[in-house]
């Protein structure tokens, strides 16, 4: 068993040995450079340079054009309103479910996860069907019943956009605050009560300050998401010429149809959008740093529940009604319209047919291509980004090279870059600008964008798991005679396998329903599921679009159930 090592070989060993650590580190830097840095650089370069010369004029023109100023104004107004209303709503439900004795909590929680699963543009489609200024179902009914001359509610407005976004983004605050409330030490509140403080005083002076960090974290998440959101404003706003920055960028690129000037204008607006989102991000960092309390413990304890007494019934009814309106009505609407023989017919069983489903699933090449593309993209982006994420997490956590902070920042960066901006960067980088590689109109350009966009998901999940794997486990394998590669294969990877599986699904699920990035990158044969629904709808095939959206909803529900099942099993180990 003793291994004879001849002394003359020794001198060579150090130099010749392949340094796995160094290789992984290099590879991580190179991949992140290609996937993240190049697109970002291309945006900034094209916004300010033209044919190698500095050209600020375009940037100034773009920013100060009346149209674009309007878009900036809308973006900011919508984002701020969504943040304020979404936060209030999130806190209200969090308090109701986390601290009061309201019944049916389990059911309500279940309903809250629904907005998490579906892309907001499905909601926008549904509300457009119901409350469109020109003949939405609900509007028509209201006009007939009350003999109104014109539609009482117009969802195709800034307020309509705010409403739909709020109903999809308030769970960010809700989730954060509920978990903070659950982890809070209940004795903190109890001791205030014992000292003679009234209920209302305890809420204001004890509970609220303690969950404030959670609230601000959730609120800023809403702000950033809304600033870069594309789907809802594009579906509700285009018909009324209401633009936000992301939809304006989309319009510029679309109208340009390959013209470079248009792409450059898009790049200039992207720089502006990055700037606005960046400001929000810096704000978020500052807030998160200032407020974290140790009194919020990891251990779950039974909190003191507030008795609602007489207010119980009205609050319950109100909570349920609002949840039904926000969550269930759009879903039902999509399913019903998907069954209609023709858009505009009354929603009665006599007008229902399954033809839309058979049409889109069996007779529509575009749709079946789209489903295939989305599956291919989600699975391959899931697998590739998962392995890259594990590798980068390994480099950051275990190898700890110089510059690991840089690596960390770069890998998380795309998460905060709006999908629209990322798409422009990818177009600018991979349409022949670099080494004559032209991927435009191919599926690979979407894949690259997806990898960049979702890399941080798997990286975060892998880092959390790698932190649990103590370095001595790998060392032990090394001293047992395993090479570095073997110790990775035999020890580290099997130990983080659960995190890899969940990392894959964390990417697979959002990629399946992705719209924002692919809507700018798709070519004639590379539509994704989201794009297919979007184009069916904008081409006027509203019933077919609804039918396809219903199929997507079913797909998402099935995948989600599988994931929950898998993650449940994991807890048992």
């Amino acid at each position: 068993m003793r291994i004879g090592i001849r002394n003359k070989d020794l001198a060579r060993q150090d130099g010749k040995r392949v340094r796995l650590d160094g290789m992984l580190t290099m590879l991580s830097f190179i991949i992140l450079f290609i996937v993240v840095i190049i697109p970002l650089f291309m945006i900034i370069y094209n916004a300010f340079f033209y044919e190698g010369n500095l050209d600020v004029q375009l940037f100034i023109n773009v920013i100060f054009s009346g149209d674009n100023l309007g878009a900036i104004k809308n973006t900011v107004i919508i984002a701020l309103c969504v943040t304020v209303f979404g936060t209030i709503m999130g806190i209200f439900y969090a308090w109701l479910l986390g601290r009061s004795d309201i019944p049916l909590k389990g059911l309500m929680r279940g309903l809250f996860t629904i907005p998490y699963m579906f892309p907001p543009f499905f909601g926008a489609m549904a509300w457009d069907l119901l409350l469109s200024g020109r003949g939405g179902y609900l509007n028509n009914w209201l006009m007939q019943t009350f003999n109104l001359a014109e539609a009482p509610i117009n969802i195709n407005s800034v307020w309509g956009i705010v409403f739909v976004e709020v109903s999809y983004y308030f769970p960010f605050v809700f989730m954060q605050v509920v978990s903070a409330l659950e982890r809070m030490d209940p004795t903190l509140e109890e001791s205030a009560r014992i000292s003679g403080a009234k209920q209302g005083y305890v809420i204001r002076k004890i509970t609220l300050p303690l969950v404030l960090p959670a609230i601000s974290a959730g609120a800023l998440l809403i702000l950033i998401s809304s600033l870069s959101h594309f789907g809802v404003p594009s579906i509700l706003g285009f018909s009324q010429n209401i633009y936000t920055l992301p939809t304006k960028i989309y319009q510029l690129i679309n109208r340009a149809a390959g013209d470079f000037q248009g792409v450059r204008e898009g790049a200039a607006l992207s720089v502006l959008l990055i700037f606005i989102v960046g400001t929000a991000l810096i704000l978020q960092r500052a807030v998160l740093r200032s407020g974290s309390y140790d009194i919020i413990r990891g251990k779950s304890m039974r909190p003191m529940l507030i008795k609602l007494r007489g207010a119980k019934q009205p609050l319950l009814i109100f909570a349920f009604l609002s949840l039904i309106v926000i969550v269930l009505v759009p879903l039902v609407m999509i399913f019903l319209v998907g069954l209609l023989k023709a858009y505009g017919l009354p929603l009665i069983p006599a007008n229902f047919t399954l033809k839309n489903y058979t049409n889109i699933l069996f007779n529509n090449k575009m749709v079946s291509d789209a489903i295939g593309n989305s599956l291919f993209l989600s699975v391959s982006a899931g697998i590739i980004a998962m392995f890259l994420g594990v590798m980068i997490a390994y480099v950051i956590i275990k190898i700890k090279p110089k510059g690991k902070e840089v690596l960390e920042v770069i890998s998380i960066l795309p998460y905060s870059i709006p999908g629209t901006v990322l798409a422009i960067g990818v177009i600018l980088a991979w349409s022949g600008a670099i080494a004559k590689i032209n991927l435009y109109n191919t599926i690979w350009i979407i894949l690259i964008a997806y990898i960049a966009r979702y890399l941080s998901f798997s990286m975060k999940s892998a880092s959390a798991s790698l932190q649990q794997v103590h370095y001595s486990l790998e060392d032990a394998a090394r001293s047992c005679g395993a090479s570095h590669m073997e110790s990775l294969k035999d020890i580290t990877l099997p130990l983080i396998r659960p995190a890899m599986v969940s990392g894959f699904f964390l990417i697979f699920l959002p990629a399946m329903r992705e719209l924002t990035t692919s809507v700018l990158l798709y070519g004639p044969y590379t539509r994704t599921l989201g794009v297919a629904i979007y184009s069916l709808r904008s081409d006027g095939y509203i019933t077919q679009a609804s039918a396809l959206a219903s199929v997507a909803i079913l797909l998402i529900i099935i995948c989600n159930t599988i994931v929950t099942q898998i993650t449940k099993d994991r807890k048992g180990v």
Binding site: I5, N7, A11, D475, C480, G481, E486, D490
Partner: protein
């Protein structure tokens, strides 16, 4: 069956020097204890030896093989150094059963199948874990996991095994059994063992030779247990090896006094080693302080506790409190001493140390 030699090893974390010009030789087929307080660099030393970290300077030899040399740019990969290691946190792989854990090193070193089974079973019986063969580590207690780690180290090398605090998580009885077991395993195989611990008692029980390290990573003394107990090289070694009292001394014309707020004359001669104009302290173990009616050193018993085999006293001596232990047998033969009683004290086996400027005793 390999000797180990560290030559002028220097290791730093950033600007924090852990080991400086560290040299130590370990004879083959011995159990060498490396003992020191936590944070003194013991684990760093072992990680250098195993090849997990690279020292800045120096050479390391295992047997005749140079496994690391900064000058000659030699750095053999950990897997080729052929050292069995028991890690402080066991490092038993949680996704493998006990048996899979133990056969892993032999699989990696391409031991024939039949021999693997034979040696794994033998190692399991050596650490008394045979019935847990098929268990996962999560089903085992800390002590059992530690024993799995020991078994794994035993099969992974027959020339050198390093144990880093290997038995801290066992209860007292099992700990003694494991020490016995490790000793007999070593005697049977002749493998060189390096035993890292902060527990000087375990080191004394187990090791052929002990190296004592201080907080700064320097070796204070290397020697057999007798040498270290009877001739501690400095005050640190003395205090580290057991409960100890330090009493300031004062040399006067007519003899030696202790200086505890008041001066009391000690009953023995001024030893030759005591120099003038230097402050000294007397280091003495609790067992070496004797009650004596006719001593000028008088103290008051503050508390007396019966511990079975011995009595433990805290005695107020001037402005100091010292600890005295007395064999139960002695007490039975003479008499019991009560709390509050004034007693005279004689000092039997005394070590003299030059007093550094005001320093807190360890």
């Amino acid at each position: 069956m390999a000797s180990v030699k560290f030559e002028n090893i220097t290791f730093r974390y950033g600007s924090n020097t852990i080991l400086k010009d560290y040299s130590l030789e370990i004879d083959e087929s011995q159990i060498m204890g490396i003992v020191g307080p936590s944070g003194c660099g013991k684990t760093t030393l072992i990680r250098c030896l195993c090849g997990f970290i690279k020292p800045e300077k120096g050479n390391i030899y295992v047997g005749k093989t140079c496994v690391y040399s900064a000058d000659k740019r030699i750095n053999i990969a950990p897997e080729k150094r052929n050292i069995g290691v028991v890690f402080q946190d066991y490092a038993v792989w949680p996704h493998m059963t006990v048996y899979e854990n133990i056969i892993y090193p032999m699989k990696k070193r391409k031991v024939p199948k039949q021999e693997i089974t034979k040696r794994a079973d033998y190692a399991l019986s050596q650490v008394r874990m045979t019935e847990y063969k098929k268990h996962l580590p999560s089903q085992l207690s800390g002590g059992q996991q530690q024993r799995v780690a020991i078994a794994r180290a035993l099969v992974s090398s027959d020339q050198l095994i390093v144990l880093d605090e290997p038995i801290t998580n066992l209860d007292l009885k099992l700990r003694e059994e494991m020490l016995e077991e490790i000793r007999s395993i070593q005697r049977n195989t002749g493998t060189t063992f390096i035993y890292i611990t902060h527990d000087q008692e375990a080191a004394l029980k187990l090791c052929d030779k002990i190296a004592i390290m201080d907080v700064h990573g320097y070796i204070c003394q290397t020697g057999t247990d007798e040498e270290i107990i009877y001739k501690p090289s400095n005050r640190f070694v003395f205090s580290f090896m057991g409960v100890s009292n330090f009493i300031p001394l004062l040399k006067k014309q007519d003899g030696l006094y202790i200086d505890v707020g008041e001066h009391m004359k000690v009953n023995h001669e001024v030893p030759a080693e005591i120099k003038d104009n230097v402050n000294y302290v007397m280091g003495i173990r609790p067992m070496d302080i004797l009650f004596s009616e006719n001593s000028a050193v008088k103290g008051i018993i503050k508390s007396a506790t019966f511990l079975g085999s011995q009595y433990n006293y805290f005695i107020q001596l001037g402005n100091r409190e010292i600890r005295v232990q007395r064999n139960t047998l002695d007490t039975l033969q003479s008499r019991e001493y009560m709390e509050g009683e004034a007693v005279g004290l004689d000092f039997a086996r005394v070590f003299y140390y030059e007093e550094p400027l005001e320093e807190v005793e360890s």
